[in-house]
Amino acid sequence: MIKEAIDCIDAGTEYCPCKLAESGECLICSQCQGECFCDCLNWKGVCIYQELYNNGNKAKEGRKTFDCNVEDVTNYNNNMIMIKFKAPHKLVLDLATPGSYIFVRTDENKYFDIPISIMNSDIENDVITIAVEIRGIKTNRLLNIKSNENIVIRGPYWNGVFGIKNILAQKEAKVLVLARGIGLAPMMPVVRKLALQNNELQVVIDKSPFEVNFASELLDQYKIQMSENLLLDQGKLSDHAKVIIKDALNDGASYIHVAGADILTYCVINYLNDIDRNDVSLSCCNNFKMCCGEGICGACTSRFSGHRVKRFCKEQADPRSIFEGRRFI
């Protein structure tokens, strides 16, 4: 069978080779999959097998935890909380790329770790901003966080956005960003990257379920065309969203970033298919459940046709491939 080229977000970083390579399950390297010869389909600039060998055939140490000082906390009616905290400069740099996320520790018990996307990583002041929607027993604990106290985090992790290749490919182009709810938080590093690459951005924001656009302060830093509208209407793409997409594509955009729940991404993909525009490139949030983030626990895995199991804590993918051939049983 012809093997599929897989992209690993951690390949070639200081966290590579990881435990997967150590146990013969590397996503990329054939030699670290128990094979005898190189079949390096998706070379990321380093030889993972050599890195593993030079490290005594052991995985590199995983991510560290950091105690960080909280600078500011904003509580939005106990529905959502925005936390700004100081972090080491190296970590702030590592978390500036689109898709960066951390685990926030809310209890001594590690099961209470929450995977949270970075909303902003201020490299000049070494301040990181996260926004968390209060939903259950883990997030509830964050309501107690106060300024000048410590917050414990683990990171950096990077696979919070799918289609990173497509984000990087947008240069001096017209791009459309559709964001909804808590998706506004992970949208910000994407907007920053797109703006840095001199793109002309149109951002459409659906605040629900919140009452305010909590990203407005950060968005104001960029020269973008922004509007607020409902994107989903009873689980379907709203008529307004359809008009926006169509107009943007007619206007010359050929890329859309979807920052919201999977249902929004799925609706956009289907709509593009309906209007025969599968050529439009996409990026979206990675909404898989994360627990360890290191390729070990399996919380983020999903099954696909052809007996394929994908580990989405590490595997970069195109948004369309997340839904194509996915098994629900």
Partner: protein
């Protein structure tokens, strides 16, 4: 008709020339910034039976590259242990000359372009993908990616990446195209049950040698120095690719050849030991950069093929050079490359494919190496006109000669004179 050649080493370049001359639209995809691959650190031509093969190739109408190597040679007709009438080309001149020649022929050269995968459907390659996702279609493909590296293979079967001229850490790994099509590669073996073999020579910067050695190299082309008794290592010979240089003399002596750099005829040699030898006190490696610890590992990826050089199991893929057998050397690569390029055009036109008869050395080598690759013993051997078992065979079969007229007559007798110059479409 479009012929796509993957790999711009000696065999890829030879395929490009012969398929272009036969009338195809030709694209060469090369991952590094230089054509010729290991040819940039080689340099030995026309030694022993390679003389016969070179002249056969000229008589067959495919002698362009032989003429270029002759032209940029710094030494002709030199002898060194086990070898006679060698020509040494200057490795620092050759690439530019060949590059220029291919450009004048109108061959499309895609440099720093690395093939990542293939689109394989119904037994045929439809196109190849580059690492930047560019998709390149073609009618016929020729794989001349060689069998060396990448880093993981050099680590598993050798002493790790020694930073050779292929520069995988910079330009990325070689992919086996045939293996991508589901055709399993053949590996060369050694006597101790391991796979692959280590490249057999290094290059020292000529300027790092003593004035005396430099003068001798410049005038004679060859220098032989005694290895201190305590450092003689006969075991190293068995791991070597180039069995024609795996002679006792090559373990007991340091043999330097002037190919622009000083070619050191050994797989690797720790620098501190090398520097114990008079005249080499300041010696420095230029290829592989880590010549103290190892050299590149080859023969891990030979494709099964028929004697017309078509890969078995893929309808429109040919192979040449090391990819087509356990061959050693530029001459062998140029010969197989020339045939593969010519046959690629024949295949696209629906013409019968050319198989060179065993009455000439080139035909015999291609057939003999293929036959041998089927046996375990045969996979432990290497095949070259220049020595090892095959040169012995050449002499036994009376194929070896340096009489140019005799070679021309032989080629004429089988009606193949200038066959590679014929435009087929």
């Amino acid at each position: 008709m479009k012929v796509v050649i993957i790999g711009g080493g000696w065999s890829g370049v030879a395929s490009a020339i012969s398929s272009k001359k036969a009338g195809a639209d030709v694209t060469v995809i090369e991952k590094t910034d230089l054509l010729l691959g290991l040819g940039n650190v080689g340099g030995i031509m026309r030694n022993n039976g390679r003389y016969t093969a070179s002249e056969e190739l000229i008589a067959l109408g495919g002698g362009e590259l032989i003429e270029i190597t002759d032209r940029v040679s710094t030494h002709t007709n030199i002898d060194f242990p086990g070898h006679k009438h060698a020509t040494l080309y200057n490795v620092n001149m050759i690439e530019g000359e060949v590059h220029k020649y291919l450009t004048t022929l109108g061959i499309n050269l895609m440099m720093e372009s690395r093939v990542n995968n293939v689109k394989f459907e119904n037994g045929k390659i439809k196109g190849v993908y580059l690492s930047d996702d560019t998709y390149i279609t073609g009618d016929v493909f020729i794989e001349t990616t060689g069998t060396t590296g990448p880093m993981g293979n050099c680590l598993r079967y050798g002493n790790g990446c020694s930073m050779c001229v292929l520069r995988c850490p910079s330009f990325g790994p070689r992919i086996s195209i045939s293996e991508r099509c589901g055709v399993s590669d053949i590996q060369g073996e050694t006597n101790n049950d391991s796979l692959g073999a280590m490249s057999g020579s290094c290059k020292l910067a000529k300027e790092s040698l003593s004035q005396e050695l430099r003068t001798q190299l410049d005038s004679k082309g060859v220098v032989v120095l005694k290895v201190p008794v305590e450092d003689v290592n006969y075991d190293k010979l068995s791991t070597k690719v180039c069995q024609q240089y795996a002679l006792k003399e090559f373990a007991e002596n340091i043999i330097l050849l002037d190919t622009g750099h000083a070619k050191l005829m050994t797989t690797y040699y720790p620098l501190h030991k090398l520097r114990k030898i008079k005249g080499l006190e300041n010696a420095k490696y230029v290829d592989p950069y880590a010549g103290s610890k190892g050299n590149s590992i080859r023969y891990l990826s030979v494709a099964p093929r028929t004697n017309d050089l078509k890969v078995t199991g893929v309808d429109n893929l040919f192979c040449a050079g090391e990819k087509s057998g356990l061959f050693v050397g530029h001459t062998e690569a140029i010969c197989t490359g020339t045939l593969a390029g010519h046959n690629a055009v024949r295949l696209a036109l629906g013409l019968p494919l050319l198989i060179l008869p065993s009455s000439i050395a080139i035909g015999d080598l291609i057939t003999y190496a293929n036959e041998k690759a089927g046996t375990r013993e045969g996979r432990k051997d290497r095949y070259t006109f220049a020595g090892s078992g095959y040169f012995k065979r050449m002499k036994e079969l009376n194929l070896y000669t340096t009489d140019i007229n005799k070679i021309r007559e032989r080629v004429k007798k089988i009606n193949l004179d200038n066959i590679f110059s014929q435009k087929l479409c």
